[in-house]
C-alpha cells in the first residue's frame, strides 16, 4: 500500500467516515423523531381510545336514561289504557242498561230488564223490586207491591215475603221516604243497597239489593253509576210502559165500543 494510496485510502476512509457519522447522526435523529412521532401517535391513539371509551359510556348512560324514560312512559300508558278500558266498559254497561230499559213498552219486559241488570251487571243474587201501588180512592197510603223478588225462595219470614212490602227494613223505609240512595249493610238493615226509583222527583219505589253472588264480594265503584242509572231510569221506563199498557187497554175498549155502536 503506497502512501498515496494509503493516504488516498486513508483520505477516502476519512472522507467517507465523516459523512457516515453524519448519516448515523441523521439516522439517530430520524430514529428519535420517529420514536417521538410514535410516542405522539401512541399517546394520540390512547387519548382517542379514552375519549371513545368516555363517549361510549356516556352514550350507554344516555341510552339507559332514555330506556328508563320509555319504560316509565309504557307503564304510564298501560295504566291509562287499563283505566280507559275500564271506563269504556262502565260506559258500555250504562249505555246497554239505558238502551234496554227504554227499548220496550211492555211492563213485564221492563221488569225483566231491571232483573237482568241486577243479576248480570251488578252481580246480585237476592233482590226485591218495590213499586208503589196505584192510588186507591179513600185510601191514604196505598203501600208498595213487591213487583219482583229474586233468589229468596227458601227464605223464612222477612219484610219481602208475600205480595206487599209493609215496611220493616229501616234503611229501605228511610229511602222510600226521602229518596236517598243508601248502601249497607248497617246495624239495622241487612240490605246492601236501597235504590230509590223516581219519576220526576217523586219516589215510586225502590230496588233493594239483599245479597251478591259469592264471587262478587262487594259492590264496586262502577256499580254506583249503575245504581244511579237505575234510580233515574228504571221507574220512568216502568211508568211509561204501564201508562202505555193502560192507555192501550182503554183504546181497545173504546174501539170495541165504537164497533159495537156501529153494529160491526
Amino acid at each position: 500500500m503506497n502512501e498515496r494510496s494509503g493516504m488516498t485510502e486513508s483520505g477516502r476512509l476519512s472522507s467517507t467516515a465523516v459523512p457516515g457519522r453524519d448519516l448515523l447522526g441523521e439516522l439517530r435523529s430520524t430514529l428519535e423523531k420517529a420514536n417521538e412521532l410514535l410516542r405522539v401517535v401512541e399517546a394520540s391513539q390512547q387519548g382517542a381510545a379514552v375519549r371513545e371509551a368516555g363517549t361510549a359510556e356516556e352514550r350507554i348512560a344516555e341510552l339507559e336514561r332514555r330506556l328508563s324514560t320509555a319504560e316509565s312512559d309504557v307503564k304510564e300508558l298501560a295504566s291509562r289504557l287499563v283505566d280507559s278500558e275500564h271506563q269504556g266498559g262502565r260506559l258500555m254497561n250504562l249505555y246497554v242498561a239505558t238502551y234496554q230499559l227504554h227499548a220496550t213498552l211492555d211492563p213485564a219486559e221492563v221488569q225483566a230488564t231491571i232483573a237482568e241488570i241486577a243479576i248480570n251487571l251488578l252481580g246480585a243474587e237476592q233482590f226485591a223490586l218495590l213499586l208503589r201501588r196505584d192510588d186507591v180512592p179513600g185510601e191514604e197510603d196505598p203501600g208498595y207491591e213487591i213487583a219482583l223478588i229474586e233468589g229468596m225462595y227458601d227464605e223464612v219470614e222477612n219484610p219481602y215475603s208475600g205480595d206487599s212490602y209493609a215496611g220493616g227494613d229501616p234503611m229501605v223505609d228511610q229511602t222510600l221516604r226521602d229518596g236517598v240512595l243508601r248502601l249497607g249493610p248497617t246495624s239495622e238493615s241487612q240490605a246492601l243497597a236501597a235504590v230509590p226509583l223516581r219519576v220526576q222527583n217523586e219516589i215510586v219505589g225502590a230496588l233493594v239489593l239483599l245479597k251478591l253472588l259469592d264471587h262478587k264480594p262487594i259492590l264496586r265503584a262502577e256499580d254506583r253509576d249503575l245504581l244511579d242509572l237505575l234510580s233515574a231510569h228504571a221507574a220512568s221506563a216502568m211508568f211509561a210502559a204501564r201508562l202505555f199498557a193502560t192507555k192501550d187497554r182503554k183504546l181497545r175498549t173504546l174501539e170495541s165500543l165504537v164497533k159495537l155502536a156501529r153494529g160491526e
Binding site: 258500555m92 246497554v96 234496554q100 237482568e116
Partner: protein, 125 residues
C-alpha cells in the same frame, strides 16, 4: 285466526245487546236457549265460537254442550261459558263438559276480548 261468526247463547236480551256493542268487530248470531242454539249451528255452519250462558229455559248451557260435543262435526268448536254460576265446581263442570274457557258474570269486557284474542292466537299458531 279471527272467528268467522260468533254464536251468542243467552236468554237475556240485555246480554244480547251487551255482546252486540262489545263484539261489534265480529258477525254475531243469537239464540235464547240450547235448542235454538243447535238450530243456529245448522243454519250457520261457519260459526266457530260460542259464548254460552248456563241458566236458560228449555235446554240449559251444559245440556247444549253435551249435545254439541257428542256430534263429531262440532268437535273443534270453541265454547266460552259466561255464567253467574261462579263456584269452583261450576267452572270445573263446564270445562269437563268441553268448554274452552269459563268467565263469571258480571265481567269486564276486557276479560272476554282477552280470551277471544288468546283463542285467535292459539288458532293461528
Amino acid at each position: 285466526m279471527q272467528p268467522r261468526k260468533v254464536l251468542v247463547v243467552d236468554d237475556s236480551k240485555l246480554m244480547h245487546k251487551m255482546y252486540e256493542v262489545m263484539l261489534r268487530q265480529y258477525p254475531l248470531v243469537y239464540a235464547s236457549d240450547g235448542r235454538q242454539a243447535l238450530d243456529r249451528l245448522q243454519e250457520h255452519p261457519d260459526i266457530d265460537l260460542v259464548l254460552l250462558d248456563i241458566n236458560m229455559p228449555n235446554m240449559n248451557g251444559l245440556e247444549f254442550l253435551a249435545e254439541l260435543r257428542s256430534d263429531a262435526a262440532h268437535a273443534n268448536l270453541q265454547v266460552i261459558i259466561i255464567s253467574t254460576e261462579g263456584r269452583e265446581e261450576d267452572t270445573a263442570r263446564g270445562i269437563e263438559a268441553g268448554a274452552t274457557a269459563y268467565i263469571k258474570k258480571p265481567f269486564h269486557s276486557e276479560e272476554i276480548l282477552e280470551v277471544i284474542s288468546r283463542l285467535e292466537k292459539k288458532g293461528a299458531a
